[in-house]
Symmetry: C2
Subunit: 212 residues, 2 copies
C-alpha cells in the first residue's frame, strides 16, 4: 500500500532537484499564512532525542535588517581576505539578498541543550544536524510554493546573538532570506559562476570500507 502516487513521488524528487540557494529576490512580502506553513514544515523535522532545538526569529524591523546586513558585510570582507588568491573572485559573487528579499528569518540553536544526552553523548553536534533538517524542510516546501530561499552563514555568531538579544548559550546558525524571485537559477549559482563543480556521485559512495 503506497501513500504517494507516481506523479507525487516525481514531484518530491523534482522539488529536491529544483531547490536553489537564492540571492536575487523580488521585494514582495510573504503573507503570515504562508510563513506559518513554512515554519510548520520546519517544525516537523526529525530531532535527536526529539529535543526540537530550533528557534526562529522573524525580522520585521527594517533597521534591524540593515544591522544584520552590516554584520554580514563585515564577515564577507573578512572571508575575502582569508581566501587569499581567490579574494577578488569571491568579492564579485553575490552572496546574499538580505536587503531585497521579502522576509529575513534567523534560525538558532536554543540555549539549555546540555541536558539532552540521548543521541548526543558522543556526537553533541546532532542538535545542529536537527536544525539543518528543519531548514531543509522549510527550503523544500518554500520551493514548492514558488518561494526562494538563501542560507547565509557569513556572520560572526556572537555578534548576531547579541544584536537579537538571544540568551547566552544559544547560537544563531542561519540567516535565511525568503521571498519571491525573478527566476530560479538553472544550476546552483556557485556552479554557474564557475566557483566549484559538482562532484561525481560515484566517487562519494563506497562499499563497506572507505579505503579498500
Amino acid at each position: 500500500m503506497k501513500d504517494f502516487t507516481d506523479q507525487e513521488i516525481a514531484a518530491i524528487y523534482r522539488v529536491v532537484a529544483l531547490r536553489r540557494d537564492m540571492r536575487h529576490f523580488l521585494p514582495d512580502p510573504l503573507d503570515d499564512a504562508l510563513m506559518e506553513r513554512l515554519l510548520g514544515a520546519a517544525h516537523l523535522a526529525p530531532s535527536v532525542g526529539f529535543m526540537q532545538p530550533w528557534r526562529f526569529i522573524r525580522i520585521r524591523d527594517r533597521e534591524l535588517r540593515n544591522q544584520i546586513h552590516s554584520l554580514v558585510e563585515a564577515e564577507r570582507k573578512a572571508t575575502a581576505q582569508a581566501l587569499g588568491e581567490r579574494e577578488d573572485e569571491f568579492m564579485r559573487l553575490k552572496v546574499e539578498g538580505i536587503r531585497e528579499c521579502g522576509e529575513v528569518l534567523v534560525v538558532a540553536l536554543t540555549h539549555d541543550r546540555e541536558h539532552h544526552i540521548f543521541g548526543r553523548r558522543t556526537l553533541p553536534e546532532m542538535d545542529l544536524a536537527s536544525v539543518a533538517c528543519a531548514i531543509q524542510n522549510l527550503w523544500l516546501v518554500a520551493r514548492a510554493e514558488n518561494v526562494g530561499m538563501g542560507w547565509v552563514s557569513l556572520f560572526e555568531p556572537e555578534g548576531l546573538r547579541q544584536l537579537l538579544r538571544m540568551p547566552e548559550g544559544s547560537r544563531p546558525v542561519a540567516i535565511l532570506c525568503l521571498g519571491y524571485v525573478p527566476e530560479f537559477y538553472r544550476l546552483p549559482m556557485l556552479e554557474e559562476s564557475g566557483w566549484a563543480h559538482r562532484a561525481d556521485l560515484r566517487e562519494l559512495v563506497k562499499t563497506d570500507y572507505w579505503v579498500p
Copy 2:
C-alpha cells in the same frame, strides 16, 4: 508561473509530515536502482560554498553490520548510565534497527575540509549542516518511495571511523537504517512512547528579538 500543481505541493507537505525516524523494519533488501535514486537526491542537497562534504558508505558485509551493531549497543548502555534517573525508561526504548533493516548506510564528513572557508570562517560547523540537509533529502524521497529510515547517532565516532577504515580527519555522523517497514509510526516514536512531547510552534518563533 508555478512549477508545482496544488496536488504536488500538498504531496510535498505530506511527505514532510509523514516522515518518521524508523526502528522497525522488514528484512527485504533495497535494489541498487532505488539506492541510486536515494543517494542522488542526497547529493542534490545545498552545501556551504558548494563543498559537498558528504561521503556515503554502503554496508554490504553482514559481519561488518554486526560489528557496527556492537558499537551502537555499547554506546546505548553508556548513554543509559549517563541519563541517570531515566536509565530504565531509556533501555526499554527501541533505538535502532541495524540488524533487521534492508540496508545500512554510514554517512560521514569527508577529510580535508579545512581549506573550505566560504561560509565557514566563523561557522565551521556548516559542513555538518550540509550533510544533514543531504540526509533529510534522502529521508524524504525514501518516505515517498515507501521506504523507512532511521538515523542512529548512538556510537563513538572514532571507533566507527577506524572500523570502516576512514581517513583521519573524516567523521561519521550517521548510521542510517533503510528498508521497508511493517508500517510507518503514526507519531514520532519518542512522542508515542511518552519520552518527549512536541513543542508548541508559537513558543519557538519570535519577532525581531528573542528577549523582548
